[in-house]
Amino acid sequence: MRLNLLLASATALVMAAPLLVQSSPVQAQAAPANGAVQDVVVDQGVLRPLTIAVVPFRGERGSDISAIVSGNLKRSGYFDPLNPASFIETGLTLANAPNFPQWTQIGAQAVLYGAVTPRADNRVDVGFRLYDPYRQCQLVSYQFTATPEQYRRIAHKISDIIYQRMTGEPGFFDSRVIFVSEEGDQLNRKNRLTIADQDGFQPIYLTQGDEVIMSPRFSPNQPDEVTYVALGKDYSRIYLLNLTTGRRESLGEFDGQVLAPRFSNDGNKIAFSIIRNGNTDIYVMDLRSRQLSRLTTDPGINTSPSFSPDGSQIVFNSDRSGQPRLYVMRADGSGQRPISRGGGSYTAPAWSPTGNMIAFTKSGGGRFSTGVMNADGSGERILSSSYFEEGPSWAPNGRYIMFARQTRGGDTRLWTVDLSGRVVSQAGYQGRGTDPAWSPLLDGPPANLGFNQGPDSCSS
C-alpha cells in the first residue's frame, strides 16, 4: 500500500498554477449507457480510504465525467469521495488554485476539479487539476482531447491518472470486462457472451443465447481479440472474435471436446484442452501456422492453462495425483511440477499480469475461496470465501481480482477483491453473470503526466 503521498501533510507556498496543456487521442467506443455505481464494502474497517473532493467538472458532460471518476475511485476502496453538498468553495476554475483552507476545513485530502472546453474542430478538451490542500501544492494536472461522445473513456483515463498519482501503482479503469451474462432459472438458463466497461456501463451482447458460453478471454496484447467456448447440444467449439470487425472464426474442428482456451501473452498462440475418450489434456496451437502441439499426456484431467506474462511458462490444473492441484510447466510442456501445497481442490489458475502471482479457486470444507500464491506456490493467501465462487481474473494492474460468486439457488454475480482482501465488492456490472475476464488497458497511459512540472507542484 502506497497511499502515503497525501497522508503526510506538509505546508508549501501558495502559488499561481500555470495550466499544463497536453493531449493524447483516445479511441471511439459507441454503446448505449446502462448501469449504476455500487457501494463498496470495506471489510473489517482496517483500510482508511483517502478523502477526496471531486468538484463537478464545468462544461458540457462535465458533471458526468466527474461522477464517473468519483464512482471509479470509490469502488477501488482506496478513496472516499466527499459529498459535494459539503463543499465551501464554489466557482473553482482551471485558471485558479483551490482556496486551501476551505478544503482542509471539510477534511479533503485531495481536491480534483476540471472543465470540458469545446474546440474549433468539434472535439473537446477535458482538463483537470488535482491539489493537496494540506501541503498546498499541485499533485498533477493533465488535459485530454477527444470527441465529446468519448466522455466515459476520458473519465476512466482521468481516474487512472489520479489512482496512479495517489497510490504509486498503475491504474486499471480504462479497461473492459468480457463475461457470460445469465438469465432464467437454474433449469432454463440462457447465457450470452457480454462485454461492458470495467464499471459495468455500456454492456453489449455478443452471442444470441442459444449456446452455453464458457471461458471468454482477451488477448493480452490486443484487447480487441477475444476467444471463448460455445457448447451446443452435440458440439463444443472455440471461437476467435475480433470486437472491432465482428469477425468470428472457429479455431477448427478437433477429434474430441474442446474447452478452456487462453491466448499466449503475444496473442500468437492459443493453449486449450481437448477431451478424448474421457481424458482431458492441454494442447497449444500456433495461430499463424495452425500447428497443434500436445503439452500433457498423463491420464488425469489437465486443463485451465494460463500463460505467464513473459510467455515462458504455463500454470494449469491437474488431478493426476488424485485431488485437483496447480502445476507449472514450460510453454513447450516440459518440466511439469506441482506448485500448490495445501489440502483441498485447486482449480482455475490465472497468472497475474505482474508475473509474480497466481490466483486460483480453492474448495474445501464445503466452501469455495479466491486466493493468490507466489508463482512458485509459496505464500498462499485466501482473499475471499463464500458458498460458491470461481474463476479469478486479474485487473490490468494486478491489484484487483474479479470473480463470479454464486448464492444458493444459482444467482451468480461478478465481484471484485483487492490483493489485501479488504475491499470486497460487487463489480461494476450489477446484473447476473459469470466467468469474467478483465481486459488489458485499452491503451497505454500518457507518457508525460506532468508530475513536478509547475512551480507549485508537490515535491513528491
Partner: protein, 185 residues
C-alpha cells in the same frame, strides 16, 4: 392407422379453431352486468351425462421408440460425489440399455456427462466427460459398437434438478443416454 388419421384430422381442426380464436378480439370487461340469467325457482341438479365410457392404455410407448427407451429402460444413471465409477445399482439399467440397443441396431446414441454445481466450470466439464466415458466403456463392454456412441460433457451447465442441496446435487451428477438417430420419438 384409421384411428391415427382421425386424430390428425381432429388436430388440424383444432389448429384451425385455435387460429380463428387468435383473430377474435378478447372480451372487454365493461363492468356493466350482461343480460340477467333466469333465476331458478327450483333447486337444479346436474343431469347425468350419457354415452359409453371406454378404456385403454395411456399412450403406451411404441417398442423401439425414444419414448420406449426413456420410459421402459431409463436414460440416466447417477454418480457419487467426485466419482466416475458406475455404481452397482446403476448396472442393471445400463445392461438394459445395452440389450435395447442390441435389439434396435440402427439406433445411435450420445452419452451426456453432467456434474453438480459444486465445482468450477472447466474442471466440471472434464469431470462430466469422464462420467460419459464410463458409460460408453460399459456399453461397449456389453457389445455395443463404439461407432454407435458419441459422448459430450455439459459439466454443470445443464442441471436437471433445481436447488442447492444434496438431493439436487445427487441428481445432477449423472450420465444421460440420448438417442441421436434410428428410433422414432
Amino acid at each position: 392407422m384409421k384411428t391415427s388419421r382421425i386424430i390428425t384430422v381432429a388436430m388440424v381442426g383444432c389448429a384451425v379453431a385455435a387460429m380463428a380464436a387468435c383473430t377474435r378480439k378478447p372480451p372487454v370487461d365493461t363492468g356493466i352486468p350482461g343480460p340477467a340469467t333466469p333465476v331458478p325457482t327450483q333447486p337444479s341438479y346436474p343431469t347425468a351425462p350419457t354415452g359409453p365410457i371406454q378404456g385403454g392404455n395411456v399412450g403406451s410407448a411404441v417398442p423401439g421408440s425414444e419414448q420406449d427407451f426413456v420410459v421402459n429402460i431409463g436414460d440416466r444413471i447417477y454418480f457419487d460425489l467426485d466419482s466416475i465409477e458406475v455404481r452397482p445399482e446403476a448396472r442393471p439399467r445400463l445392461d438394459a440399455q445395452a440389450q435395447w440397443l442390441q435389439r434396435y441396431p440402427a439406433v445411435t446414441i450420445r452419452i451426456e456427462g453432467n456434474a453438480d454445481e459444486r465445482g468450477t466450470r472447466e474442471y466440471n466439464l472434464a469431470l462430466g466427460a469422464r462420467r460419459a466415458e464410463a458409460v460408453r466403456t460399459y456399453l461397449i463392454g456389453r457389445g455395443i459398437p463404439a461407432n454407435r456412441i458419441t459422448t459430450i460433457s455439459y459439466g454443470k451447465e445443464r442441471p436437471i434438478a433445481e436447488g442447492s442441496n444434496e438431493d439436487a446435487w445427487a441428481r445432477n451428477r449423472n450420465a444421460h443416454t440420448a438417442i441421436v438417430s434410428g428410433a422414432p420419438r
